[in-house]
Symmetry: C2
Subunit: 421 residues, 2 copies
Amino acid sequence: MKKRRQLAREVAVIGAGMSKFGMFPDKNSKDLFVEAYNEALASVDKGMDPNDIDALYLGNFTNDFFVHQGHWGPIISDIIGLVPKPATRTEGACASSALSFREGVFAIASGFYDIVLVGGVEDMSKRTTEEVTEGLALATTPYEGNVGFTFPGVFGAIATAYFSKYGATREHLMNVTIKSHKNAPLNPKGQFRQTIREIMAARIERARERGQPVPTWQDEREFLRDDKANPTVAWPMKLYDCCPISDGAACMILAAADIARNFTDYPLYVVGIGQGSGRGLHASPDITYFEATRYAAQEAYGMSGLKPDDIQFSEVHDCFSIAEIVHMEDLGFFKPGEGYKAVEAGLTARDGSKPINTSGGLKCKGHPVGATGVGQLLEVWKQLRGEAGERQLPIRDLRIGAAHNLGGTGGTCTFTILERR
Amino acid sequence: MKKRRQLAREVAVIGAGMSKFGMFPDKNSKDLFVEAYNEALASVDKGMDPNDIDALYLGNFTNDFFVHQGHWGPIISDIIGLVPKPATRTEGACASSALSFREGVFAIASGFYDIVLVGGVEDMSKRTTEEVTEGLALATTPYEGNVGFTFPGVFGAIATAYFSKYGATREHLMNVTIKSHKNAPLNPKGQFRQTIREIMAARIERARERGQPVPTWQDEREFLRDDKANPTVAWPMKLYDCCPISDGAACMILAAADIARNFTDYPLYVVGIGQGSGRGLHASPDITYFEATRYAAQEAYGMSGLKPDDIQFSEVHDCFSIAEIVHMEDLGFFKPGEGYKAVEAGLTARDGSKPINTSGGLKCKGHPVGATGVGQLLEVWKQLRGEAGERQLPIRDLRIGAAHNLGGTGGTCTFTILERR
């Protein structure tokens, strides 16, 4: 990058909503998106006429092959009454809706549109775990998926390399899982809402009820070490290192900053919108970092004039526990090889100096892939507006939050910074 | 639309290229895109450093299910050496790359980027006709494809409705086919390069060689009426009303207008970028027009301040012969119900008053769906720069051309106007 990238016209978020994330056998993508959309409309403090929306950007990754239906832009624009206005689908694997957010920002910053709806949706849980695992592997490069690399294996390899380079162990990964599950009960929209201790207690209770041998775990770590309770998926990724299969939708209403206060007294301003691409593990000299995330961070920090220390909290793409650690380092929150120590020291907890994934993260909130990018930004919206309920960060003068979204094996990464003024 | 939409910063096309369109069993999407990219780079008159490209937008529709690989943005950014710069896939069925063009325009007009590569690719011909027909039906709405409506049937229904409303017949559709095939031999990149008369002569010659009964067609119309030579696909769509299954790629290099002349003395300016969405046939009170095309036209004319009569020539999405007629009307080139008469009167021929599909159209040039939108704009580029070779339009002061791209059953339509100054 040769110059500091700027937008000709500033853009703000004026509304946001999401469906519950989880497994919903009776809901399809339309049902889920309408849930998110209705909440987003209702969140516009001063109200808005849906007819003021000029266009839709929709992130989706798997509907072509999981539900045998493509071309979702106009299907969603139809169900929410936006036809004949334009509807564009973006796809960047699990970063699909971070791309829709970014295109919505460009469309407004260009001067062409004033108000744009951006979001994403995914409908995954009606497929078997095997089908989902194979389907998601379409997001890897042809040099990975075609030779049998699916995502648990990819992140298992990354964790192994990270362990080898920095001396971390599985014991350190557990800290990510335990931390995410501590935030989980506080997010009413999340897929999993129990701490690891609560899960343990429920298991013990169930064993007692059934007259089975009662587990003797003394703490979370013992539970997570237990191969029966926490089986290996792809070493060293065990079950509780992996995010679940989820259905869900999320959306945001963007407006030109110059009109944002017509709709709300509490707009959030889009101050950084970085994106990068990557070649995949086969072409990476070192798989303990993501070039695409580093580039996205550089673009976003460059645009905003902010530094990593200025980001007060962030959602970070934790499809697997190791991903959270590696990406925190790529974003500059911690030095390479220091991320796992930061988690261990509690710095990324809700009461730490750099809270990460207050939503519970993909691990607990769920990961309906096309909805995840905007879903992460929704957590930033909630926190910055002081509307995060029980999980509200106890930070005085909370002004700047960010979200990092990953697609594939680092093929697409985004970093988006929002500011409250 | 309440206001005249404008861009904060003008955008120009400074380079363009395409692969041959056709059926290439030995080429994949990467091979095809590299062909197009190399030609685009070479077309930049004053030369350019590929490192000046800030980002990629890539249209693709079917690769997820036809070649079992998704997330094509970074795969293409990798093969052309663009990593770690951002690469975003857009999907709007057969309009996927018109969307990538439009997003590239927004990204530059927003001020964020200066030079963006946009394009599309599709790799379809390795599948059977049945698989392609079923796969493309993923672009219809859930209320069409799921009840057995594939595209030949959709456009058969549209043609039947059009015939019924306006008194046109299959004889009129033939005029579209004959006209497209007249342009076909003049396009060296096209999939089919024979006139109907040449096809007839070859068939007669082959019958003679094989000692088979020699056909007695007197002219093109007799050939096209012959059920053996031109079998019915979905009445009234016969074989020669339908575009082929194709592989191919096309791309363009966009730049901020303020720097465009650093790269070429002959940039083309993007003066209109309309897009609309539609609900599908099941929800249309009248299927003889496309609401999405009308909306896209309104946006593009509104932005440019131009009227239909100002468009000197246009590529119009002719996936089926009837589509060309209906969309010409939707774009305002001819009144509703007058399009078929205009073709009959020769107005849309290369020497007519409103030349349409000088490239040979999707019918002859081919329709690698994700590449089509930018492929159409490439014809406009060639004509406006006087580089269309044998098919160069004989119009003095050729300044304004356009391209219309359709996705699905009118789910996505775009209309893009380019100007030479």
